[in-house]
Symmetry: C2
Subunit: 345 residues, 2 copies
């Protein structure tokens, strides 16, 4: 069994552990953030953690009314002209905690008096040492180069933080149900191995998500690229209509991330437009009617509120990338030319 398979399967246990053991640490961060009263959130991450950050952008915007800026590390490293962070909550997300550029951003934030929160799976890493406070993902070491369990742990930690800042009892209950919902989604994904074969010779694929699941589109695309060497391109349904849709012709595969919620009507409209172009539609959804219209239906169980749906919607994407990688003869744990820790400057 590959590390990748093990780490995908581990996700329910990882989320359970994070929820039960890290809640107090998150509560402390919440108290400190309230006292600091940030003017904006300055979020810094790379790779899959950056995709988790996209989720945070919608989550903190919609639920906590916070303006979230995604950082541009090169301003710190290459240009050495950091913006004024003194009133910001600097939020760094990193599996390894070892990217020099992230360390540089957080160090600069501390120097300027920002409140610096670090979400990482390595609480003794150089990044963690720069933090005002550290949230530990407690995911266990991640050995596969393609991140899976640390990604969903990061989503969960962000959701816990958001609920801590402005949450009602039923939000906490919804959070507590996530480990089980993740387990159910992974079980439902057992059929994906057969479905993946169809895309053995695909070279490109568009992945569309919006709102909370904009992040999911990016993360599923990244898995398809890293693992199956597929040119998968993420975008929002709105941005897709602004140009990229021009590449779609008969048989062009488009994966829609379309769980129930505020973005569903928009995704349905797009599905119709794609159908007129005879695109090949794949859908990740908990809506049976939409799944029936897709050539490849990747079901997630119903009953999870939209703001938590990214924790489920990414899972069929992880599995699709994993099985497609196998079908295409790509190594599962060590994709061509990638290392677990990427040095960037």
């Amino acid at each position: 069994m590959s590390y990748l398979d093990r780490e995908i399967a581990d996700q329910p246990a990882v989320l359970e552990r994070l929820f039960s053991r890290e809640s107090r640490q998150i509560d402390r961060a919440v108290q400190e953030i309230r006292a600091f009263r940030p003017q904006a959130v300055f979020l810094v991450a790379r790779g899959s953690s950056d995709n988790a950050g996209l989720y945070g952008k919608y989550l903190f915007g919609a639920r906590n009314r916070l303006v979230v800026a995604l950082a541009t590390p090169s301003l710190f490293t290459l240009y050495r002209r950091p913006p004024d962070l003194s009133g910001c909550l600097v939020l760094a997300i990193s599996q390894s905690g070892r990217s020099d550029d992230l360390v540089g951003v957080v160090a600069e934030g501390r120097r300027q008096g920002a409140y610096c929160l670090v979400l990482t799976n390595e609480p003794r890493s150089p990044l963690a040492r720069e933090a005002s406070r550290v949230i530990d993902m407690r995911a266990g070491r991640e050995r596969s180069v393609a991140a899976t369990k640390t990604y969903t742990a990061e989503l969960m930690a962000l959701a816990m933080l958001s609920v801590g800042l402005d949450g009602r009892a039923r939000d906490r209950e919804a959070l507590a149900r996530m480990p089980e919902a993740v387990a159910g989604t992974l079980e439902a994904g057992a059929r994906i191995e057969e479905l993946a074969g169809r895309y053995r010779y695909a070279e490109r694929l568009a992945v569309i998500g919006r709102g909370y699941n904009y992040a999911t589109a990016f993360e599923v695309s990244l898995k398809l690229k890293e693992l199956a060497y597929l040119t998968a391109e993420p975008s929002s349904s709105a941005d897709f209509r602004h140009g990229p849709i021009a590449v779609v012709q008969e048989g062009f595969p488009v994966l829609l991330i379309a769980p129930r919620g505020r973005t569903l009507d928009d995704m349905r409209d797009l599905a119709r437009a794609l159908d007129q172009r005879r695109a090949e539609i794949l859908a990740i959804s908990d809506v049976s009617a939409l799944l029936r219209t897709a050539r490849t239906a990747l079901a997630i169980p119903p009953g999870t509120p939209e703001w938590l749906s990214p924790l489920l919607a990414v899972l069929p994407g992880q599995l699709l990338a994993r099985h497609l990688a196998a079908a295409r003869g790509c190594p599962l744990d060590r994709p061509r030319g990638l290392a677990k820790v990427t040095r960037t400057r």
Copy 2:
């Protein structure tokens, strides 16, 4: 002659007009922004204008020390849960000024007491009516669906704004030289028609830029998608190493946006790594040594400072997309399935 060709060729005159006729209006905006003292910039745009916004993010960060958040319009339209914008400079960029979602963001900003600046080519549009102040691109009507002259006009307006906020005399002089530099770059691009033929049957291409030219990577990708129906994928050199590089094998085309400046060493390193994988390198650069190592060299004239280089670096990309579209039999002015104004909700 297509509208597209005319609009590409018009760019020096458009920039000249913008610089000479809109400077006073920009000075007024600068005074008002100074008085308002924004905590952060909340930038909202779609399509090519969103790519111009990416330039603004680096520009205002590096030159003006401002934290810039790119807006998530769906928080306003689909979720109806806008963040707290009361201390923000809301900056909307739109060619047509007719996207309902952008109008909604600016209207909400005004309601909350934000200072709302609108950059548009249509100063009597619904978007302009919501603004605290309007900067008019004065680019003349843009008829080709793929934006070219309004994109460079937006970059120029952003640069004028940044220099107004914190600029020295030599920065103003550099700005004043841009219309001529753009004209020189377009002339140097006459050879691109021959070079484009080589990519007649390419299906995918990665476009890499960083820092100020991260925006250029996105805009050139969008042109290649809209006009030549090529799956062109933009990323930063840092993000590219975090996964997408796995898709690169022998002959895979990668376009590097690599003008002289702080990002050059990083782009050189990447060029070497790509060369080891026998990728096919295309380069837009003003550095002869780098151009010599590329299979397809797209030269821009030297002498423009890095922070203004995106105004030049995008031009060979526009021309490449235009000539590739012709080689592939794609219509120049009305790409398949796109309209000039895209309605998004």
